[in-house]
């Protein structure tokens, strides 16, 4: 850790001394940051991604999928049974008109979505398909559908056990439902688990919610304007993030919040256009997805490789079971916590099943992945770690190249989208991280400022480091949150089931009514 800090201090000193550093020297800063970062985070990453003994299958991936399956069964396929009801709730059909002016279901969902729809959908999917092949898409969709039940569980609890302060502000999230829920059930250790979750949440905020975003935003920008040192992008991002979260310049965040949804729609429309133009290949693409899902079509690790990648990226993208969404959803105004649970189950659907699948289909259809004509299997790159691509691209560059093959100018739009998605995800995660931080260290100006400054520093590190170590750490930190969160959800899920039974009975009896607007 000391070496890591020293390197950072040196880098920071260099930055402040002279901005126009020679390119060569700047590159070495990037390399140093990268090296120090990889060394510092290695043990943590190895622990989280440790395989089952005698296999290459990381236990954490199974952990998430088994949980999502258990929640799906325990709540009797809540994602199917209450899907239509969730839509009605978002439309406001069950909202008392006298509550107008409070946070609506739609707003809570949109806020949570802007935190999850980010580079996971664009870059993360490219990583998954690039390593796991088209088959990864199948497992990703399956994980997305199952994940809806995990999201339902955690968001219901998030609202039920949130803190409502005297001045009317609210704070919610796993740390609150773990400590209060365990207390209510008479279980020991709630407080400790909540603290452990908070620590991981801070790491997750700095990793996936920050460094990964900065890193891929830089990759996209440098792919268009030419290669330049990552710390420059990082510094610019850090200044803007600083202006918003420290300087309180709300207008930047407000503009982003308003533009991001349209960018999301634009992204899906562009993907649909490319799919329509190549409609004759859609059948083939799905063929590749199904064949790849069960055979791997030559990817590293075969079928298991495809499955691991698909599950990993789905979890990283929609964060079901991670607990972050419970923080975002808990601000809603409702008398029935479970209604927010229903609404939140739409999140993995929009995020993973719709947006991620679009990205995957475009990458597959654009034929960026090189197939061995003779065998019909994918060819691996020289290192044998991923599928060889036409221009040797990976991550966001691969998505960008795939879109460019259909719409040549789209990378420019994508660059704007990537920057905005990255930015809005960072702002959302700075909030999640801050909530965990204040849970640990208490609310107060100094405490909050400390976290915000650390957050900004990590933006620069994230942009400067290379994709490998950043993505490993980001994944590890986010999954570490899921370890604690899901463990606790197993104990707390009976509370949610009681809520579900009571609510569905009252919905059926007509006690819970629609309002005429």
């Amino acid at each position: 850790m000391n070496r890591f800090q020293n390197t950072w201090l040196i880098s920071a000193a260099l930055l402040s001394m002279s901005a126009p550093v020679a390119a060569q020297e700047a590159l070495s800063i990037d390399q140093k940051v990268n090296q120090a970062f990889a060394t510092a985070t290695g043990p943590f990453v190895n622990l989280i991604f440790a395989p089952f003994p005698g296999t290459s299958f990381p236990w954490i991936v199974m952990w998430l999928v088994i949980a999502a399956t258990i929640f799906t069964l325990y709540f009797g396929f809540v994602q199917l049974r209450y899907f239509a009801h969730a839509i009605q709730l978002v439309k406001g059909e069950y909202t008392d008109p006298d509550d107008a002016g409070e946070v609506s279901h739609f707003q809570a969902l949109a806020t949570a979505l802007s935190g999850t729809v980010g580079l996971g959908n664009i870059a993360g999917v490219a990583v998954a398909v690039g390593i796991g092949g088209p088959g990864a898409t199948f497992w990703m969709i399956l994980a997305g559908l199952l994940g809806m039940a995990s999201k339902f569980t955690e968001c219901t609890l998030g609202v039920k056990y949130r803190n409502e302060y005297e001045d009317g502000t609210v704070s919610g999230g796993p740390m609150y439902y773990i400590s209060k829920g365990f207390n209510e059930l008479g279980l020991p250790g709630g407080k400790i688990l909540a603290v452990v979750f908070s620590i991981f949440c801070i790491l997750g905020a700095l990793g996936g919610g920050n460094m990964f975003q900065a890193n891929q935003a830089h990759a996209q920008i440098s792919g268009i304007v030419g290669d330049y040192p990552g710390w420059i992008t990082g510094l610019i991002f850090a200044v803007v993030v600083f202006a918003v979260i420290v300087g309180g310049i709300k207008s930047i965040a407000n503009v982003t919040e308003k533009v991001v949804p349209f960018m999301g729609i634009l992204y899906v429309v562009a993907a649909l256009i490319i799919l329509l133009v190549n409609f004759n290949m859609i059948g083939w693409a799905f063929g590749q997805i199904f064949a790849g899902a069960f055979t791997g079509l030559g990817v590293a690790g075969g079928m298991v490789g495809a499955l691991i990648q698909g599950f990993k990226r789905a979890a990283f993208s929609n964060e079901a079971g991670v607990g972050s969404a419970a923080i975002a959803h808990s601000a809603v105004k409702t008398k029935e916590p479970i209604t927010e649970g229903f609404v939140s189950l739409l999140e993995p659907l929009i995020d993973t099943v719709v947006i991620c699948t679009m990205t995957a289909l475009v990458i597959i259809i654009s034929q960026q992945l090189i197939v061995d004509e003779a065998t019909g299997r994918y060819m691996l790159n020289e290192a044998g770690t991923a599928i060889a691509t036409v221009d040797g691209n990976s991550g966001v560059a691969l998505t960008s190249a795939a879109f460019a093959s259909g719409i040549s100018w789209f990378p420019y739009v994508l660059a704007v989208a990537v920057v905005l998605f990255a930015f809005s995800t960072m702002i959302s995660w700075s909030y999640y991280g801050l909530k965990a931080w204040t849970y640990l260290f208490g609310e107060g100006k100094t405490s909050e400022m400390t976290f915000k400054l650390i957050f900004c520093v990590f933006v620069v590190i994230g942009a400067a480091a290379s994709l490998g170590p950043v993505i490993d750490f980001s994944d590890a930190a986010i999954f570490a949150m899921a370890v604690v969160n899901i463990f606790c959800l197993y104990f707390l899920m009976k509370i949610v089931r009681k809520e579900l039974a009571s609510y569905s009975a009252r919905l059926e009896s007509g006690e819970i009514k629609k309002y005429s607007h």
């Binding site: 707003q107 949109a110 806020t111 802007s114 919040e257 601000a331």
Partner: protein, 145 residues
Amino acid sequence: MAAKIVIGLDGTDTGERALAFAKDLASRMDVCELLVAYVIEWSPFTFQTAEENERRHKRREEEIALATSRIVDPAVAKLKEAGFAATGLVRHGDVAETLNRLSNENGATQIVVGRASSDGFTKRLFGSSTQNLVMHADVPVTVVG
């Protein structure tokens, strides 16, 4: 039964004229109750940051307190001084929809509003709240210029 008139204020001069008109109208009736309403334009379908959401409840209370003390209470006081039976309400929502709902809920027979004070692009695109109210209201609407 007393006639009831909803007066929609918007904090501008035209709102004041609507108030004056309603007073005049009420003075010609035997028994008339006046309901002064101020609607804070708000949509449940906007995009907000997590921080805004966290403070939304507090902000809403502040908005209601402000509108009540600055606009509705003074208007109600003036009406009462002049000898009318008057009450006040502040609500969030779509202005036209909410005024119509309030008039239905309170059994009002008429709505009096000022003419649109907004101008420009948004009005051309979506029409003004006044236009929407006139077109969709369930009771007669008087627009004061």
